[in-house]
């Protein structure tokens, strides 16, 4: 009888110990979970603050850039440089930059705007030279009695990425006599070329390379940009 009571008591005490251990484990688990949750919430909040700050900075920069461009255009148009008209201009440019800055800078890339503008203005003389050469070629085609034309439609897949660079290339092709961009669909150019020579000139891809170089795309992203953008590397290159 006493033995059974003893066994029973031992069983009971074991059960109580088990319960206590289980409860302790639960408490510890809850504590750990709460800690990790607080940490993740905290980290998320810090990240949001950082991301928000970065976004706000980017938006302010976009607004200022759009405002400056618009105000330059306004001053070019206006011609009345008194206080009244200038303040009207500031008001109007503020309104338009606020409503249309996302149109003007729809897909900003991680490139330096000054470098892009500089390269664009070195690209324009080259384009004019190309136009002059093709002009002579097309004039010879038109003037020769046998008319040695060979019209064809060529297609090629471009390596350009952004819409603005694709448009620059398409319009450069159209501006060059002898070739016309018919369509650009999903990065494929459909170009009408009037003779073999103009088609071959286009297929060498020199123009595409130059455009990619302006907008720092495709294989022009790394080496050339680092050289152009950081003065240290520029100095190294001179040595």
């Amino acid at each position: 009888m006493e033995v059974t009571i003893l066994v029973h008591a031992t069983d009971e005490s074991f059960k109580i110990l088990e319960d206590a251990r289980e409860r302790a484990r639960q408490v510890l688990d809850t504590a750990a979970r709460l800690t990790s949750e607080t940490q993740s919430v905290h980290r998320k909040r810090v990240e949001e603050i950082f991301k928000g700050a970065r976004q706000t900075k980017a938006e302010v920069l976009k607004f200022v850039a759009a405002f400056l461009i618009m105000f330059g255009f306004w001053l070019l148009l206006s011609g009345h440089y008194d206080l009244f008209h200038i303040s009207l201009g500031v008001l109007c440019c503020g309104l338009v930059s606020h409503s249309s800055q996302d149109l003007l800078f729809a897909n900003p890339r991680a490139g330096d705007m000054r470098v892009i503008v500089k390269r664009f203005f070195t690209y324009v003389p080259w384009l004019i030279y190309q136009i002059a050469i093709s002009n002579l070629h097309v004039a010879r085609l038109a003037l020769s009695p046998s008319m040695p034309i060979d019209p064809e439609i060529i297609t090629f897949k471009t390596k350009l990425e952004s819409d603005i660079s694709m448009v620059t290339l398409a319009n450069s092709i159209t501006l060059t006599p002898g070739t016309i961009t018919i369509d650009v669909k999903d990065g494929v150019y459909y170009v009408h070329a009037v003779s073999k020579k103009t088609a071959e000139d286009l297929m060498t891809g020199e123009m595409e390379d130059k455009v990619a170089h302006i907008f720092m795309e495709a294989d022009h992203v790394y080496v050339q940009d680092v050289l152009d953008m950081s003065p240290i590397f520029g100095a190294l290159r001179k040595i």
Binding site: L77, H85, L88, C92, V96, L103, L104, I164, M166, V167
Partner: protein
Amino acid sequence: MTEQSDDVIVKTLSRLLIPFMQIYALYVIAHGHYSPGGGFQGGVILGASIILLVITYGLDNTLRRMTERLNTILCSAGVFIYGGIGLLCLILGGNYLDYAELDQILHVGVAQARSLGILGVEVGVGLAVMAVMISIFFDISTGGLPSEKIEGLKD
């Protein structure tokens, strides 16, 4: 329904052109008392910039930027500015739209008051013309139904 254009050239160039069109329209309105142009012309150019947006980026994207509600408010505000300035001249003792009477509250001299009055009226006319142009185009492209209903049908 006017859908989004799939031509990258048209879309990009109109995207870059629209802010300059809007600045030009505001320039035409703001310099209407010095040079040719004014409320009607500037308002039509402003309306055309939004219509270009509808043609190239589609009605849905445009309605996110320029809702029909905002458009109606601008339309009414334009008419209200025009009529308000006219009535203000009437209240101040002159004829309807007799800007010289505005001198009594602006204190800037009769000639300057006339100039400012004309500018105010032109801003009103510009807003009203722009909103009516956009409203007509919205009506044509939705078939006369309110835009909310069209979007409800699409979902």
